[in-house]
Symmetry: C2
Subunit: 201 residues, 2 copies
């Protein structure tokens, strides 16, 4: 496409690097930026640059943090011996929003995905093993996506951890709360029957 200005072309090329943003959406974003006050746009550009330059990662759990240790790792009320393994910080935020978990997290930074060239060495797996040993962890909860990459990563981690005296669990899979049986897919329904739990009143 021919852009009327090299500045527009450059901004479109940069913004279309975002996942899910094509050239047309990027051009829409550029038009939006042109209609904003200059100070607003400078604020946005600076926020992006500052984010990348100043962000820190917790040295214990690899979650993003403003300090050396994140709020969760630093909190004495959180159980340091129960570690929930997640893919990225969105999962931490989602689980924190439930208010049901009082342990700590370990952010892998991705899932094993040979097609995209992501192997165990690119993920924070060694630091997890080291942490399990050092903190004498009691339980590792695998809270990874229920797809091929998630299952592969859980399998790999469970093999790595099997020699250590730690309990390994995964979050339960089944019919969503409020979900109707007839609309559930077969695999989920099948798993929910195999993984049935005793009913108590």
């Amino acid at each position: 496409m021919n852009y009327p200005s090299s500045l527009i072309e450059e901004a479109v090329n940069e913004l279309s690097k975002f996942p899910g943003i094509g050239k047309k959406s990027a051009l829409r974003m550029v038009l939006f930026l042109l209609k904003q006050e200059e100070a607003e746009v400078v604020k946005m550009g600076d926020a992006i640059i500052k984010l990348r330059k100043e962000i820190k990662f917790c040295t214990r759990c690899n979650n993003v943090s403003d300090a050396e240790l994140c709020n969760i790792c630093e909190n004495p009320k959180r159980d340091q011996q129960t570690i929930c393994v997640v893919e990225d910080l969105r999962d931490v935020m989602a689980i924190e929003n439930t208010n049901q978990f009082h342990g700590t997290y370990h952010v892998l930074g991705g899932l094993i995905n040979p097609i995209q060239g992501i192997g165990p060495e690119q993920l924070k797996i060694d630091s997890l093993i080291k942490r399990v040993k050092e903190t004498d962890a009691k339980e590792i909860i695998m809270a990874l996506s229920a797809n091929m990459e998630g299952d592969t990563t859980v399998f790999y981690l469970s093999r790595k951890l099997q020699t250590l005296p730690v309990k390994i669990s995964t979050i339960s899979r089944g019919i969503a709360v409020g979900g109707e049986l007839e609309y559930a897919d077969e695999i989920t329904l099948g798993r929910s029957i195999l993984g049935r739990i005793p009913y108590s009143v």
Copy 2:
């Protein structure tokens, strides 16, 4: 939502200002940025800021431009007396891509929309009238969207221009080339019958 870092919160707030980008999409964009090289992110932030700071608008047609006059207005091969009125630069790019138009443009910067508080005085209408008088324009082609705002703007412009010796036309509406009659909506089909043209071989 509770963000694990104020830097993330700020970047999410800034990115969710884009039209069609909510907090969840913005968080996805932030995660993408965190995985990029620092130099790449700085490049993106700078491109946004530079775009807004350095962009110029053609003093004649209001299209974006790297210089005082845009490439199209400056081109001696383009007919300065045939002016195509469009909403924004995306329309200029779309029409330029057809290679069917050899006149010049006038970018209004929006459409009359009382609900959003956009009146004629916010648009580049006065400069259009002035330009029509100064260049002794022969034809004004209205290439605006076929919705209420577009129709209102065309009506307003035609009233403003009616005392001047200039021909006013609008782009034709009808069934798309390659489109099938049975799938066309009634209004478009109705308009295409009312606006039928002589058939010539």
